[in-house]
Subunit: 348 residues, 3 copies
């Protein structure tokens, strides 16, 4: 465990220090669980009381919070500062370079010197593993795979032949990258496999959640852009092109040939038909469903099939009043019947 | 295979015997497939005919069934009795204690004497494995993991550093426990990882379905309570607190910091936003969607977003009559136009 | 890489040749990415311009396309011909027979001569592996498993005891077949496991996507029929009977005891309650939800719960006009009030 002075953490986060800059901080913690030596953060005013009661040695606050705690780091974005400080106090485990005696590495593979390869890992022909990368127990790496520097490939991952992975990529356990896409052509006797002979490109600074699957391109390639984050059990179909800094929550499924441009945010359990094009900056709510071929413009989208969120909300409000509407129509019918009777009497 | 006398099975299930208590029973079976030596059960009257035709040597029935079969075990809950009898006749496979020669176990790990460890398993520093536990081929166990007694860890499971697992826990193949949660803070240049340095507690008597993922707490812990059962491909996010005897069907996704109290029943493909609190005894139908922060009271819930089931059904009934309602409004318009014309003529 | 003459490919696909039958073709490619030595296909007229510009040496076209390219294979179904040609030009990788020195195979297992078994594979008691089958690194095969000829079992797959797999089956990485189904009986103290002691039958010519799970029968068996294709992360519950040539897209979940007859097409993220019976030829749209016990007749189905697609579309069109309907009712109310006032004055 690393320890840092409050002043060092202030420098890291461009913070104004209130209190003792020489105090040593060893861990990040939540307001409630923090103890001496810990740093916590508070942003929302509803947690100010918890901040006052916290036993944390120092608390990261907004510059304008006026909390007046004994030790504060004042910043613009406390949660971001907290994340940056956690990166320093709790760096990801860096296993020392070692090739476990049980591993099976092809002679033609090219493994950098400073690499950790755990037990029961296999690495195929012509594959390259960059410096600082860790490949944990039970991961299987195919032929002609390129993995960059400082990646972590967690246990039981499988990376199929021909996949390219950039630098500082984290791939959680059970992930499968480069499996065949789902494409068939119906003949007289059943289905024939459409060729699935393309590749996959995973760019830099990507994190991929546990048991997620990313299929290879049918003819071209499947791409995940720099800085993008996928949660657990996301399915990315063949030939998808996911841009940079896209966030996709758990169990979302993306059919083949979908493009998602940079800086989109996709909720969990969303379903994409094929050939959808999501434009940069779009936000798609959890459980949404999108029909094949749709172009999704920037803005917030919701529902099955998706609509702009405000329209979705408005329609749902209208629908919730249908029982009342039916009541009203029943009333009108009665009144009209009365009017009709009245007029008939009149005329009579 | 074990064999038991009908009388022994009657004792086990507090059953009244009809027929020969000395008959030997070797297997449980369905009414249709049962043969001599098998025991089956019948509860619903629509299967009484199948029970009469069954070749089972003995059939478990309700005390009040009046089926008059040659050999019956009469009980209050036939399906429960059947399950208890199956536990005795078909105990889970107990592999004899053995540490396969291929395994990689850290010197500091503490493995009980009566443990089965299959091929290609690794167990990290300071981890403890309790007596009677079976760890099957290809499972990878990290550092500082505690696994209790009489657990079965099926093949290719991954249990990350610091996870604690109780007694009699069954973890099916491909499960990942303790992977990083999905939390980021957006900075100017992209996303920074929010710390994911908490732990996971899996209590006693839990079963976890194949390829399910359970993320570790961000700062605190993720907990699954005693006696809870998760189906295949369930996603449990960071800091969730799932109570005791909760049942969660396949492909349900639970975002971070969700609390589900004891004795809830959750259908398949349900989606939970974060910070939801489900109170004890709630039942949530399959494919439901629940918005972040929602408090779900006891009762049966349905739909996206969830509503009480009866309200959901009523609203849907109303909505299905909207086409008719539009027809009615069209009629009313006509009548009013006629009335207006009539009055105009009148006045004219 | 294989190379074939245009004339050989014409023979394979019953095509009429336009141009030089002796030209050598080495690869399939898309119209855009194709280069000399490649063959591409075009079907939809909107890609005719791309076909004219393509650098492909030969293009597969419809017999009636009138494209007049320098080299054409004219066929009835260009995409099917393309798939058949890809099978020849890009046959699936066939690893030479080899049993890796690290594998653990039970003495009683029966492995054909021409089999590839990769690193860190285990094969249990009495299991049989047919000729031409490839079992890749990290796959774990239980006891009493039968795998036919010419199968590919990709890395980190787990096949549980007693599962039977036919010929030419492709099982992608991370798949789990034969795990316990999800069945419990509630007793006074919590849940008891309903026996999960049945089997799984996977017939011939099946492909199963990455991280899919197929549970064993509780008492009987789970079956996947010949020629059926499952995408990634599909869940098949205990005792399901999936027919022949069924296609099921990613992340669909099928509860226990569901029957899907031959030649059905099921979209992604569909949810099936238990004991559903889908009749041959039914098509179920993505994200649909089907209530337990439902019989689904042939035709196209959509929505939660499913309805015939045309009915679903009609109802949704009606619902989208509810805001307008409420407006109309408001108008009618006003008019009736006016009429009432008018009549009152009249009478007055």
């Amino acid at each position: 465990m690393m320890a840092k002075k409050v002043s060092e953490l202030a420098q890291l986060t461009n913070a104004i220090i209130v209190g003792d800059g020489d105090m040593e901080i060893r861990r990040v913690a939540s307001l409630d669980s923090a103890d001496a030596g810990d740093i916590a953060y508070v942003d929302d005013a509803k947690f100010f009381e918890a901040a006052r009661k916290s036993r944390a040695s120092c608390i990261i606050v907004r510059t304008d919070s006026e909390l007046d705690l004994p030790c504060e780091l004042q910043v613009k974005n406390p949660k971001l500062a907290f994340a940056l400080i956690a990166e320093v106090l709790h760096p990801p485990k860096r296993r020392p370079p070692e090739i476990h005696s049980s591993v099976v590495i092809a002679d033609s593979a090219n493994i950098a010197l400073e690499v950790f390869v755990g037990a029961f890992v296999s690495i195929g022909e012509n594959s390259e593993i960059g410096s600082g990368t860790q490949i944990r127990a039970g991961a299987q790496i195919g032929d002609d795979v390129t993995i960059g520097n400082d990646c972590v490939i967690h246990p039981n991952v499988f990376i199929e032949n021909g996949v390219t992975i950039g630098d500082r990529v984290i791939i959680h356990a059970g992930v499968v990258i480069g499996s065949d896409g789902f494409g068939y052509v119906r003949g007289d006797m059943g289905y024939h496999k459409f060729p699935q002979i393309g590749s996959v490109i995973i760019e830099d600074d990507i994190e991929i959640g546990a048991n997620t699957t990313i299929d290879r391109g049918a003819l071209g390639r499947t791409r995940i852009g720099k800085g993008t984050k996928l949660d657990n059990m996301v399915h990315v179909g063949h030939n998808c092109d996911i841009g940079e800094r896209v966030v996709i929550a758990a169990q979302t499924g993306i059919s083949g040939s979908v493009t998602i441009e940079d800086d989109c945010v996709i909720g969990g359990q969303v379903g994409f038909g094929d050939h959808i094009h999501v434009q940069s900056g779009a936000v798609i709510g959890s459980k949404a469903g999108i029909l094949p071929g749709k172009i999704v413009r920037p803005g917030v989208w919701w529902g099955i099939p998706i609509q702009p969120l405000d329209k979705y909300k408005r329609l749902n409000a209208h629908l919730s009043r249908v029982p009342h509407l039916r009541e009203e129509v029943r009333e009108l019918k009665k009144k009209i019947a009365q009017l009709e009777a009245l007029l008939e009497n009149h005329d009579g």
